[in-house]
Amino acid sequence: MPDAIVVEHLAKRFDTVEAVAGITFSVRRGELFGFLGPNGAGKSTTINLLTGLARPDAGSIRLGGIDCTRRPRAAQHLIGVVPDESNLYPELSGSENLAFCGALYGMAKREREARARELLDTFGLGDAAARKFGGYSKGMKRKLTIAAGIIHRPEILFLDEPTTGIDVASARQVRQLIADLNRAGTTLFLTTHYIEEAERLCQRIAFIVSGRIVGIDSVEHLLQPLQGRHAVQIAGSLDGVPEGLAEAFPGLAFACPEPGMLRVEAGEPVRVGAVVRFLEERGIEVAEARRLRPSLEEVFVRVTGLAAEAMRKQHEQAGGGQ
């Protein structure tokens, strides 16, 4: 059985911008694969290339063994896409939207209506089936958009920021639905800027920065180098690593991933109190100091050189935030 997604030397350029710079990766059948990176890293372009909404300048894409560049329509039968914005039709009801999406994949009337009813019940939208999509809440819209993506039972589902812009309860439901879909055997390709979400859901993760994959592995393997490392994050009125700090604590490594945040790392437990006292004595107000458990966020920061929090804020400022 071939891998679900095989990408080799994929490249795409928009004028002078190299959006995707010759990336190579594969996703196994039945895998939940996370694709992480900051805004403008090339995530959406990659999804567009994989789903046939854009044409690559170079490289190849195989979905379920089908060469997408040669037989894009055949490959589109295998995939479902849940875009980052709910793009169903506001004038149609929930069940009409699902039936319409089923018809786009050639499903017969009886089959698509039965499938629509089944999905509406599964996603807890049965009571809203006859209501117009335009009147749905954000969480309901997101759930129906996911349902529309799987109406034709695709082998591979692309999810672009599935929990962005919805409330906590709905996001939890959506995560549960994603996990259930994966358990049922669907291959999932997930982009998200919520690193904890990727850590909780995904089996393997790729980090993309400036169109290049800078790290790709299973969550366990990605976390391994951090075992035995101790880290503390201090929030306060900082705009860089204060002068004299590194000299005062020679066993510790300091970094300021973004203004207002200081990261301290060591091979043994960090004595936070001494560092905080040092800062306060120099007039720096400390709002919070917390120990960080080894997390994917740490890995992300190490691999990409970017702050996860900064990425989240950047995404929210771009209009995708909760």
């Binding site: 789903t51 044409r55 589109q76 793009n87 004038e91 149609l92 319409f100 994949y105 050639g106 499903m107």
Partner: protein, 245 residues
């Protein structure tokens, strides 16, 4: 077969969502009425002039009806990203765009029926060659729809589509021989008139309603077919170049 399920679903959805909306139906009725009234008042004509006005009013109703709707069914959906859902469907782009334009073609034909029905109450239409008239109405509707598609694909905002449409529509009304014969135009403008698809549609409609066509109706219809094919191919080329780039 599966492609045709998608085709019918898109057509039915568009007809329901856009074309059967009361504002569009009333617009389709009011527009031809307004044009007919305007020409009657301007020319001071009576019911005996209906046959000479009918081709022009029918063609303008089609032209404005179809080109206006494409800005919504294509440009608006592209802007709102629901068009992406259609592009992701495993159907050929040609079939997809035929489905998206079929509603507008039917809307154009329906718009042309309004002045015909009105004229039937006021004038003797027994001399009209209905076969040629129907073929001309259909092809004018297809050509206008594909012109609307070409415009809708060339822009990214609905208001741009409307403005850009007028750039084509208004000169066409006066140049294509609907109300003034092409021979009466200044010599400089006459070649331009023969470059417009509606000129051949107008000629065929005049021929079918009251005679006096410059070219054989069959040739008019053939040239219209060529324009339809050309505009559709150009629109598909632009979609591939701009939207699936």
């Amino acid at each position: 077969m599966k492609g045709w399920i998608a085709f019918w679903a898109i057509l039915r959805k568009d007809v329901r969502t856009y074309y059967l909306k009361p504002p569009n139906i009333s617009w389709g009725l009011i527009f031809p009425l307004a044009w007919t009234g305007m020409f009657f008042i301007r020319t001071g004509g009576g019911v005996e002039d209906i046959l000479s006005l009918l081709p022009g009013v029918a063609a303008i109703s089609i032209l404005f009806g179809t080109t206006s709707m494409l800005a919504i069914t294509v440009t608006f959906e592209k802007k709102g990203r629901s068009f992406e859902r259609l592009l992701l469907a495993p159907i050929p782009l040609e079939l997809l765009m035929l489905a998206k334009t079929a509603g507008a073609i039917l809307f154009g034909v329906a718009n042309a029926c309004v002045p015909v029905i009105m004229a039937a109450f006021l004038a003797d239409l027994s001399t009209v060659a209905w076969g040629g008239f129907a073929a001309a109405v259909f092809l004018v509707s297809v050509a206008s729809t594909f012109l609307g598609l070409f415009i809708a694909v060339a822009v990214s905002e609905v208001f741009e589509a409307q403005t850009f449409s007028n750039f084509f529509r208004f000169p066409m009304i006066f140049l294509c021989g609907l109300f003034f014969p092409v021979e009466n135009l200044p010599m400089l403008l006459q070649p331009l008139a023969w470059l417009l698809p509606l000129t051949y549609g107008a000629d065929a409609l005049h021929g079918a309603v009251h005679g006096g066509n410059r070219l054989p109706v069959a040739l008019d219809l053939l040239i219209l077919c060529a324009y339809c094919a050309g505009l559709f191919a150009l629109s598909l080329f632009n979609i591939r170049r701009r939207w699936i780039a």
